[in-house]
């Protein structure tokens, strides 16, 4: 019945990590292993898809016993369980990991990064943690793998080992672990204290404690607050600073982890907690949780405004991610079935669009060694594939058809309409304008501005390197002051694996618009599991 498959989905990348570590001395074999592992993983995940999509999932598969890994605390085992929302997350992460692996090979080789074996090992471990998060059967399991993801991605952020990278990685880990230990863990323990249970249940687990008076409405509100800010990976302001800090990592890391795996782990947890821990009714009836709509709305707008003024491309993308993540949070905070659907769909839609944008940023860096938007004049003529993909990704961020971003925005607006939150509608409309305001100028600049003349721009300064992967030459200490731009002005497209990967994700963004059946099907499956209001 495919119930052991979640375990397999974790074991495949974990085994992959071991193999990669063992064969790290032979780069070709190591990278072949990475790609093979990712393909195997997608195969495993796809095996689970029909099980989750099947009619009567909630009556059959959901009610069977979960896969118990260990009895970690008495009565609260580490357990894995199939679930439609987790399925969306796992599906996205595993399919994009294949493309990202190809991209990494091209990127890491072209930029001659150091410690590549550590990079691939940690990457595979991070994916294993992602699978653990996606298929976790209770909150404790989710928490365990959530922390495992923070730790396994720390070496990736600090990858270059420069003081700047180490400092940023410290911010990264400090905020992520600080919020999770300081707020999420006590929330978890308090949940166990009040309910005696940590298992996920559609409709939430608090009703009983609320009705028999163990838990009061305000206490529930405090718990909700601790959960929402404790999930630092969702980058709800003011817990968002780690995301721009993480941009110091090599671009493949920013692409898969900080556009898909890590940040989606955050919003996935937010949505999961809203649906399966709090449920639609308990928060609403207790009159708590409405504040989240306003905090998320403010995050959307403020982050977009900050993005508007960023000249560093990856930083602008990072702030755009912060704002897009809060789309998902705001959708979930509507606490309505349509809102939950919008949130689940946007997890997928944003993933494809944002990874394309990051791939493009890395491609520009690899081919042209440019990290600033102001340097991108006319680059579209030299790198048509890259910038074409970038344009598609931008459209998806704005929510223009025919891209995936349109579908999620549609559901979000429907959900807002249904629940009567005009505030959400206003935020979405304003934010759409802002999105257009900070993405379209890049596209316009790349295609319609003339390329700069030879001495029209300065060489890279050290500050730029901090966010744009200094090349191996600078790391090796060779003086290379003015060479960069002169050398790279006659560049063409980035290496083939990079261009291939970003074209695929751009295509995926469009395909998801025309064939959203799988994601919609999974989202509707969540819908069916919810108790009727």
């Amino acid at each position: 019945m495919g119930i052991e498959l979640p375990l397999l989905a974790m074991l495949v990348p974990a085994t992959g990590a071991l193999l990669i570590a063992a064969f790290g001395r032979w780069p070709n074999l190591r990278e072949l292993l990475t790609v093979l592992t990712s393909v195997t993983l997608l195969g495993v995940v796809l095996q689970m898809l029909p099980v989750v999509l099947a009619d009567g999932f909630w009556e059959t598969t959901w009610t069977t016993e979960p896969v118990v890994l260990f009895e970690m605390l008495p009565g609260i085992p580490l357990e894995l369980k199939l679930e439609p929302l987790g399925m969306i997350y796992a599906l996205i992460a595993s399919s994009l990991w294949i493309l990202n692996s190809l991209y990494s090979v091209g990127y890491m080789r072209a930029n001659r990064e150091k410690n590549q074996t550590r990079f691939y090992v940690c990457f595979a471990l991070a994916i294993a943690s992602v699978m653990g998060i996606a298929f976790s059967g209770n909150i404790l399991t989710l928490f365990v793998f959530y922390e495992a993801l923070s730790v396994s991605t720390y070496p990736l952020v600090a990858h270059k080992g420069t003081p700047e990278a180490v400092r940023s990685a410290r911010v990264y880990l400090g905020i992520l672990v600080g919020t999770s230990i300081g707020l999420l863990l006590p929330a978890l323990i308090a949940t166990y204290f009040f309910t005696g249970d940590l298992a996920f249940a559609p409709g939430g687990i608090f009703q009983e404690a609320l009705t028999d008076g163990r838990l009061t409405g305000p206490m529930l509100g405090v718990l909700f607050f601790m959960y929402m800010f404790g999930i630092g990976k969702a980058a709800l302001m003011p817990m968002h600073k780690w995301l721009p800090a993480a941009m110091v990592a090599p671009t493949p890391v920013s692409a898969l982890l900080h556009a898909v795996a890590v940040v989606k782990a955050g919003v996935f947890t937010v949505v999961k907690v809203c649906i399966y821990v709090f449920g639609t009714t308990s928060l609403v009836s207790a009159g708590q949780g409405e504040w989240l709509i306003y905090v998320a709305g403010a995050t959307i707008l403020i982050a977009s405004c900050i993005a508007l003024f960023q000249d560093n491309l990856k930083r602008r993308l990072a702030y755009s991610t912060i704002s897009q993540l809060s789309y998902i949070t705001i959708a979930a905070s509507l606490l309505s079935p349509l809102g939950f659907m919008a949130a689940s769909i946007h997890i997928a839609a944003h993933a494809f669009g944002k990874i394309t944008l990051f791939f493009a940023a890395g491609s520009i860096y690899t081919a042209a060694h440019k990290t600033k938007i102001s340097e991108l004049d006319g680059i579209g003529r030299k790198m048509p594939w890259t910038m074409g993909a970038f344009a598609i990704g931008s459209l998806s961020m704005i929510g223009v058809p025919p891209t995936a971003g349109f579908i999620s925005k549609w559901y979000l607006l429907s959900g807002a309409w249904e629940t009567g939150y005009t505030f959400v509608i206003v935020v979405v409309l304003l934010s759409t304008l802002l999105n257009a305001g900070y993405f379209l100028p890049i596209v316009w600049r790349a295609f319609f501005r003339a390329p700069p003349s030879h001495d029209g721009h300065a060489p890279l300064s050290p500050q730029d390197d901090a966010f744009g992967d200094p090349a191996d030459e600078t790391a090796a200490g060779k003086p290379h002051a003015h060479g960069h731009d002169d050398h790279h002005d006659d560049h063409g497209e980035a290496p083939l694996p990079i261009v291939f990967a970003l074209s695929c994700t751009a295509a995926g963004t469009i395909i998801l618009f025309f064939f959203p059946d799988i994601v919609l099907g999974l989202a509707q499956q969540i819908f069916k599991g919810l108790p009727l209001p």
Partner: protein
């Protein structure tokens, strides 16, 4: 023929006692170490046998009368689940650190003193085991002195590497003696009112006293004991002897002490507060609830803050130990099931984690010649396995999930919530965040620094060190994942403690 099974309790103490004395005559070379490993190994095997016997018997405890003297005249050894568990920890750590010690001791202590070192070392373990196993209050004091005197000597042996070991040892000698005399006074006063030295007897006599809560002698005894015990277990602010002692002691000694000595101090507190005085008197009639929780909380916060400021990794871990004692004390001061269980679990978890980490630092000192941050820098490349062990142990100190430290914290915070003390939950979590900061100081130095000096030429630690290190670190991971043994023992021991003397 001696019946091992029937005399198991006394053999646990006799084996190392005689073994330690014999060790004085083992001469030079590798022989003292070999002999010590055999003795501690045998002792460890005996404690395993003891645990299995106890679990197999189905009895709540096993009583053994020394020399067949009835227990109210002679000395009774009394093994229940709690001290069988502590015996296992002490003997196990004793064995592993002995195996580890060979190269480290060769490196740090002149060859002509090895026999003395190992003799004193085994006697220290004897004292700790004896305190744990005995059911007689005066016997506790005698064995406490054995373990204390030997530990002062062990610390002082660090003098060949750093003369400051001598002052550290002297400081501990003074404070430790104060603590021990307080304990002796407390026991004396207790004997005055109860007329007995047998712990169980003392307890039932005390319970029979109508004016227990107001009896001056009992109150004075209680005060002396609490202060004395706090000194021995290094509860903040009576911890001043500990950081320097751990820092300047020979590496192997630091590992042994950090893992066992203060833990046995906590065990004594269990015996006296829960076993003799009883929960009702210790935590409800007396304000120790408030005092101990307050001291523990201050300890967690301030010693963690001090740990952050340290530039020597050994003293950083020493201050961290003071903070961890705070968790243990806070746990049992809650006097509820989850809190006490968390305390017991943390005794084990912290022993394993800190022992492994101090051994890893010892391996670094062996290869690089010091444990300052500058020695650690960039060591992740040169000694990946040692550095990895140190990093994993560090995650355990923070209390990351899948490490043993997480389990302890879960119980402690649950216990705090059960008691309605959410402030303590906050303190525990703040402590974890501080731990994150000081552990990350070590991790950044190890993995993201550039090696200089001797660090640049260092090679991986020898296998004879790596294996013991990884056994302990492996255990700290294993018991973070599968807690059925530790959690089960801890909850059962906790419920029997809370029910009075088992």
């Amino acid at each position: 023929m001696l019946d091992i099974q029937a005399n198991l309790p006394v053999l646990i103490v006799l084996t190392p006692l005689l073994g330690g004395i014999i060790a004085t005559f083992t001469g030079r070379g590798v022989l003292p170490w070999l002999w010590s490993s055999i003795v501690t190994g045998a002792t460890f095997a005996l404690t395993i046998q003891m645990m299995m016997t106890l679990l197999g018997s189905g009895e709540p405890f096993i009583s053994y009368e020394l020399g067949n003297w009835p227990k109210w005249w002679g000395i009774e050894y009394r093994v229940d689940l709690l001290n069988a568990f502590i015996l296992l920890v002490v003997a196990g750590i004793g064995f592993i650190t002995t195996v580890y010690a060979r190269l480290s001791v060769q490196d740090e202590i002149p060859n002509d003193r090895h026999n003395v070192f190992y003799a004193v070392w085994i006697l220290a373990i004897t004292g700790l085991l004896g305190i744990t196993i005995t059911g007689d209050a005066f016997n506790v004091y005698v064995l406490l002195e054995i373990s204390s005197l030997t530990v002062y000597a062990l610390i002082a042996m660090g003098k060949d590497r750093d003369r400051r070991a001598l002052t550290a040892s002297l400081r501990y000698l003074i404070l430790g003696s104060v603590g021990a005399s307080f304990i002796l006074l407390g026991i004396g006063y207790l004997m005055m009112v109860t007329g007995t030295l047998n712990m169980e007897d003392m307890h039932s006599q005390l319970l029979r006293m109508p004016d227990l809560d107001t009896n001056r002698t009992v109150l004075v005894a209680f005060a002396f004991l609490v202060v004395g015990l706090s000194l021995k277990m290094a509860l903040y602010p009576l911890h001043m002897w500990l950081p320097k002692a751990y820092t300047y002691a020979p590496s192997a000694v630091s590992a042994l002490l950090a893992a066992t000595a203060t833990k046995v101090g906590v065990y004594m507190a269990f015996r006296f507060l829960f076993g003799i005085f009883g929960v009702g008197f210790s935590f409800y009639a007396m304000p120790s609830h408030f005092v101990l929780l307050g001291m523990a909380s201050l300890g967690i916060i301030f010693s963690s803050l001090t740990a952050i400021r340290q530039t020597n990794a050994k003293s950083l871990l020493a201050y961290s130990s003071v903070g961890q004692i705070g968790y243990i004390v806070a746990g049992f001061s809650l006097a509820n099931a989850n809190g006490v269980a968390g305390s017991i679990v943390h005794i084990f978890n912290h022993a394993v984690t800190k022992g492994g980490m101090f051994m890893a630092l010892g391996a670094i000192a062996y290869r690089v010649g010091g444990t300052d941050m500058k020695h650690l820098r960039g060591l992740g490349k040169r000694m990946p396995l040692t550095a990895g062990a140190l990093a994993l142990g560090g995650l355990g100190l923070i209390g990351f999930p899948l490490t043993a430290g997480f389990i302890s914290k879960w119980y402690l915070v649950s216990g705090a919530l059960d008691a309605g003390m959410w402030q303590l939950a906050v303190v525990v979590l703040i402590g974890s965040l501080f731990a994150l900061v000081y552990v990350w100081k070590i991790i950044e130095a190890l993995f993201f620094g550039e090696p200089t000096g001797r660090t640049a030429e260092a090679t991986e630690a020898p296998l004879s060190m790596l294996i013991p290190i990884w056994v302990l670190i492996g255990l700290s991971i294993y018991f973070g994942v599968d807690t059925s043994f530790t959690a089960d023992v801890a909850t059962r021991a906790a419920s029997s403690l809370l029910g009075g003397l088992p």
